[in-house]
């Protein structure tokens, strides 16, 4: 698996990501760049939710809650850890966009993503273990309630801004640093995608699909179904937390209301539309459903917001009627398949 060529490819990808990370903010239109970044984060959120809802067939409707945990824990770390650990960052958090900014932001970004991801994973474990033991829709109910609990905790906690939102701490004069860039968003997106695809196609990953396909049969071959579900839930929550940290350090101001049930519902919509279990579907669906509203908002103005939820619901209903398995079903887009498609007519 770890052939030298793989290291070369990995290094090349990192090089390309870093270069784009420096170039894009300079040459790309601000709105387009913003849409690109938000889409990348949405891909991370969608693919990680797909690990839970698509691969193991559970039903979490609180993914934004785990993103919130990652966002607040991650941002609290860079703000309150500024004096002791990240003193090299400017207090206003503006690290610029050149090559140097990549190096300056790398340490705090990694630490923040890790802290946010681990916090979300830990809470995922605590919430997931009891509800995944039981069959049925307990997970949906519990994840729904969990989002509310997070909201109440944050709103009553002044150190993370309470209901006013969190953008730093006035007393110590430190802002949430702008350390999220193209490199990290798409680097993490690639990691999540590779992870999910590896799960989908490896034998050890088959246990996740087995649990979705038929729990009794999965038990009969010796799969610990509860543990499998909890694993998927914890891993999915981890990446949601990482996505939260990326989001916080991109926006630099986070409001608990941006992680409410509506946001969770957005992620569920993305995953269902793309196809439960299809990584390709989640990616494309995340890109389209993030870019489209942004574009419509900028052309139609604020009035679009009123119709967004309605149009999502309509989209879902139409989808259920026309193509209940999602755009991609459980299938994947791969170059090998495409090649076969083009070959077939020639051989007949």
């Amino acid at each position: 698996m770890t052939k030298p060529i793989n290291y070369v490819i990995a290094l090349a990808i990192l090089g390309v990501l870093a270069t784009l990370s420096v170039i894009l903010p300079i040459y790309m239109d601000d709105l387009v760049y913003r849409v690109l970044m938000l889409s990348g984060i949405a891909v991370i959120m969608a693919v990680s939710l797909n690990l839970i809802n698509g691969f193991t067939g559970q039903f979490s409707i609180g993914h934004a809650g785990f993103q919130a945990v990652g966002a607040y824990v991650g941002a609290a770390l860079t703000v309150y850890g500024h004096n002791d650990i990240f003193g090299h960052l400017p207090k206003d958090g503006q690290i610029g966009t050149g090559w140097m900014s990549l190096a300056v932001g790398a340490g705090p970004m990694l630490a923040s993503m890790l802290a946010g991801g681990l916090a979300a994973a830990l809470i995922g474990y605590i919430v997931g273990l009891p509800s995944l033991r039981l069959r049925g829709d307990y997970l949906a109910i519990v994840t729904l309630g969990f989002g509310e609990i997070i909201r109440v905790i944050v709103e009553n906690n002044d150190s993370v801004g309470g209901p006013r939102g969190f953008s730093g701490n006035l007393d110590i004069g430190v802002s949430v640093p702008a350390i999220t860039n193209f490199f990290w968003v798409f680097g993490v997106a690639i990691v999540v995608i590779l992870f999910a695809r590896n799960l989908r196609f490896s034998i050890s990953g088959l246990q996740y699909l087995a649990v979705r396909e038929d729990e009794v049969a999965a038990q009969a071959v010796g799969i610990d179904t509860t543990r499998t579900k909890v694993n998927a839930f914890v891993i999915g929550s981890f990446f949601a937390g990482v996505g939260g940290s990326l989001f916080a350090h991109y926006e630099q101001t986070i409001l608990i209301s941006s992680f409410n049930f509506v946001r969770s519902f957005d992620f569920v919509t993305i995953v269902v539309l793309g196809g439960l279990g299809s990584v390709t579907g989640s990616i494309i669906s995340a890109l389209v459903l993030t870019a489209l509203p942004e574009i419509l908002r900028s052309s139609l103005g604020a009035q679009f917001n009123q119709y967004r939820l309605v149009s999502y619901a309509l989209l879902l209903i139409v989808m259920m009627l026309v193509r209940p398995q999602g755009i991609f079903g459980r299938g994947e887009l791969s170059f090998a398949k495409l090649r076969n498609k083009f070959k077939k007519p020639a051989t007949q």
């Binding site: 034998i203 088959l206 246990q207 699909l209 087995a210 396909e213 038929d214 009794v216 049969a217 038990q219 009969a220 071959v221 010796g222 799969i223 610990d224 459980r330």
Partner: protein
């Protein structure tokens, strides 16, 4: 003869419904034992209790002399007590090959796994032609073969089959029974066979138990039970 499986005074309930009361069943090593009974008698429950999928309220389950009543399902599988559940529970969106590979989920002996893979495909040559096909596209009979093949991939010492012939065309029923006998004869795998098709089951089994509303009402030599007037009347359609 040494005992493979021994169910000792087993009581099983689903909430308020008592499904098994004081059940005693023994399967000796190398034997084919069949369990017959009407719909709802508790046959599937008995297999579930043995494989740990439901827990007995009281009584013991012993496998190869060890009390397995409190073990996890996975530990029971790894000891070689394999349950092939009723209703062809295959992984429909996976390929035939992936289904078979999952049968060896708990095993690490690569050579043994590939031997058993070959053996399963020898028993079920139709599956070999369909390895890359998704399992949901198989016919009912092929799905049942896949379910049994997958159980074989777990290298059972005792294989418990829950109504393998249910809903199959007569010609396929014959084939499934023939293969069950072959598996038993060639590898000495003990078999506990649950069937509504009592005629066929009694023809291939060494011994048999009759289960009625959660209690064992008759047991003995399969040939004797086959000629028992009560059994003939209730389960063999004579009379």
């Amino acid at each position: 003869m040494s005992i493979a499986l021994h169910l000792n005074n087993l009581d099983v309930s689903y909430g308020a419904i008592q499904a098994l009361r004081g059940v005693d069943v023994t399967v000796n090593q190398g034997e084919i034992v069949t369990l017959i009974g009407a719909n709802g008698a508790g046959k599937s429950t008995l297999l579930r209790a043995a494989s740990g999928m439901v827990r007995a309220r009281s009584g013991r389950v012993e496998f190869l002399g060890e009390d397995i009543s409190r073990l996890s399902i996975a530990s029971i599988v790894s000891r070689g007590l394999i349950h092939c559940p009723e209703g062809r529970r295959i992984f429909a969106n996976m390929t035939v090959k992936e289904n078979l590979e999952l049968g060896a989920y708990l095993r690490t002996d690569k050579q043994g796994i590939s031997d058993d893979y070959e053996r399963a495909l020898t028993y079920f040559p139709r599956l070999r032609e369909r390895l890359a096909q998704s399992a949901g596209t198989l016919s009912g009979g092929e799905q049942q073969m896949l379910a049994i093949g997958r159980s074989l991939m777990s290298r059972p010492k005792l294989l418990m089959l829950d109504e393998p012939s249910l809903g199959l065309a007569p010609i396929l029923v014959q084939e499934i029974f023939r293969i069950i006998v072959t598996i038993n004869a060639e590898s000495g795998t003990s078999i506990l066979l649950v069937e509504q098709n009592a005629n066929q089951a009694l023809a291939v089994a060494n011994r048999a138990y009759v289960l009625e509303t959660g209690t064992i009402t008759l047991s003995g030599n399969a040939a004797d039970l086959k000629s028992n007037p009560e059994v003939q009347k209730a389960y063999l359609g004579h009379g």
